[in-house]
Symmetry: C2
């Protein structure tokens, strides 16, 4: 869709650790998961991170229709009631925003300036997508399936409904869920009500919210959110490669008590239990988590996985000595991939899975 | 409580429109209400603003106790089951953070840099506090009742549990609710589970979350959140006066579609329905809302109040002409108080009720 407007151009440059009013407003609007809730296997309703490109549409569940159309042998439409009458699955899935950690990448792309908090785990309820795609039966010439939401807006002057695609062979390897519920409740408006998909193991951009259309296409999809953004790029002119599976990552519950403004952590000397969660994409298991104290690493105990597509708990004991310390955690997954200590470079700040670092001040007991 | 730690000192100065990493992290963590949900009478669960000074405590509802103690004739404790067995009330209450709008006050206090979004309306369920206070029976020498939460942390080097007080004569005029539910659900952890108070008509700091203690005291309460902060001050040394009732305010649903990064709004020329909500503290009714377009004001239609302590809907038709325009809204309450066009000065950025201003770009139809 072309742009009839003179849309404001995004800023080209940023300064490390300095944010302007638009970035501040994005940080206000898009909310991070509360790190202290990482003590729980399932993120409390409403405490899960939220990244919304445009506005949250307020849709009517009763009149909502999901259309399977395009290069299908048997296109059809479904109401929400019809979807709820299909076999139901509930599964915890750890989702993470591809831009999580962007504020740590230098120079920083002018966009939502995430810290560490754009990851969470809800228990999603819905019906598997695969049988519905089989029923619609992609024609022989179909190459991809596109997923389009009801949320419309502009990015760099391009007006579009948020949309993404998955190739047929990608779909075969993914347990995509057509979701209408979360944490035992109907899907909340800001999480995509009345209908969305959840693509386990991939960064969040694939899990299209406010879903209205599933279309089989015979040429690779050229939607803005597929080809213009969500690509790893070395520089602005690099065509790049698509952002897909979540990279291995871990986060800790910041120990002790916080200082209100700086969020620096304050604990008393002695044994401190540190805990958190670790996850990776593509269903890869977490095999190791380490806790670092001022660069010295100890292996943490793994306390179990919340589900095949959800994070793994970990804990370690830190013998805290008075003074200021840097705590870090890093995870390794079954493929051998380990979190780096420094943010990996990406022009757009995607996929920053550097070790979580927390400053802790320890007082004499 | 004294401070055994070398807590980081908050920054003394800020620059207009420029935010550092700590402010960015606060904006990530504390979430604003999604302005597009102002089309609804009740804010969707999880889309309500959230301001948490310290960490969200994860408390066990089954073992939770609320203690009435201090200068009461008959101190007692209550379990959550006992509270739920008392007469129940459900009421929509509009809450707003006292620091809402801080980013618009110059020079800006170094704290949570709210834009416009720290206001929302949930339907709160609980039991009125007054009969319980009558049962506990404050002794003749009692002057205030204090409310203390389970959330502990530091502010400017002072370690404390979040606590607030209300004088006995203030309590007589307030319909304080002891709350365990919201929007038909049990209270969520981040909103104060399992128990909090809601003080209708006052800024949010009075509505203490994670409530553990209600104490009758014989001297004015000197808690940090009562005497060190939440005061209107001309300058840093001004002892100031307490922040109490919410000032008259209105917000609009930003019309049209957004640009992703700048959040500038884009609409097509012609008749545009603009809507929003308006509210004031102390139960004062909204008598007028005006929509301003480039400084020209028209009266909006009031579409009804959600409840005696909740916001009032409004709508107006804007005949949008091509070009860039500044839309504003301002409300007037039954006392005659009207929103100013410029932020009122406060050293800490409290109580900024200046008119909501939205930049809109209009294209030819």
């Amino acid at each position: 869709m072309s742009n009839p407007f003179q849309a404001p151009a995004p800023k080209a440059t940023t300064t490390d650790g300095v944010y302007d009013d638009a970035e501040r407003a994005l940080a206000n609007r898009n909310s991070g998961t509360l790190l202290e809730t990482l003590a729980l296997d399932v993120t409390p309703t409403g405490a899960h991170y939220l990244l919304t490109h445009f506005d949250t549409p307020i849709l009517d569940a009763a009149s909502h229709r999901l259309r399977f159309h395009g290069a299908f042998e048997t296109p059809f439409e479904l109401t929400l009631d019809e979807i709820c009458a299909l076999p139901q699955v509930t599964m915890p899935v750890t989702l993470e925003c591809a831009g999580n950690g962007r504020s740590g990448v230098s120079p920083r792309r002018y966009s939502m300036p995430w810290g560490y908090e754009a990851a969470g785990t809800y228990e999603w309820t819905g019906t598997p997508l695969a049988p519905l795609l089989a029923r619609a039966a992609p024609r022989a010439e179909a190459v991809e399936i596109t997923f389009t939401g009801a949320d419309f807006g502009y990015d760099s002057g391009c007006g579009h409904y948020f949309g993404r695609s998955l190739a047929l062979e990608q779909l075969e390897a993914l347990d995509v869920l057509l979701v209408h519920g979360m944490n035992g409740l109907p899907l909340l408006p800001q999480h995509g009500a009345p209908l969305r998909i959840v693509v386990p193991g991939w960064y969040g951009m694939a899990s299209v919210k406010w879903l209205t259309d599933i279309e089989a296409v015979t040429q690779p999809y050229q939607g803005y959110q597929q080809v213009q953004t969500y690509r790893y790029r070395e520089h602005a002119e690099d065509p790049g490669r698509p952002v897909t599976e979540i990279r291995v990552k871990s986060l800790m519950v910041p120990p002790g008590a916080p200082d209100w403004v700086s969020r620096a952590r304050l604990v008393t000397a002695g044994a401190v239990e540190v805990q958190g969660k670790a996850w990776s994409g593509g269903g890869r298991e977490i095999v190791k988590v380490e806790l670092g104290v001022d660069g010295h690493w100890q292996e943490a105990e793994l306390t179990g996985r919340t589900g095949p597509y959800a994070w793994t708990g970990w804990r370690a004991t830190w013998h805290a000595e008075p003074g200021a310390h840097l705590l870090q955690c890093r995870a390794t997954d079954a493929s051998g991939a380990q979190q780096p200590l420094e943010p990996p470079w990406d022009h757009s700040g995607f996929g920053n899975n550097a070790a979580h670092t927390v400053e802790v001040h320890v007082a004499q007991r």
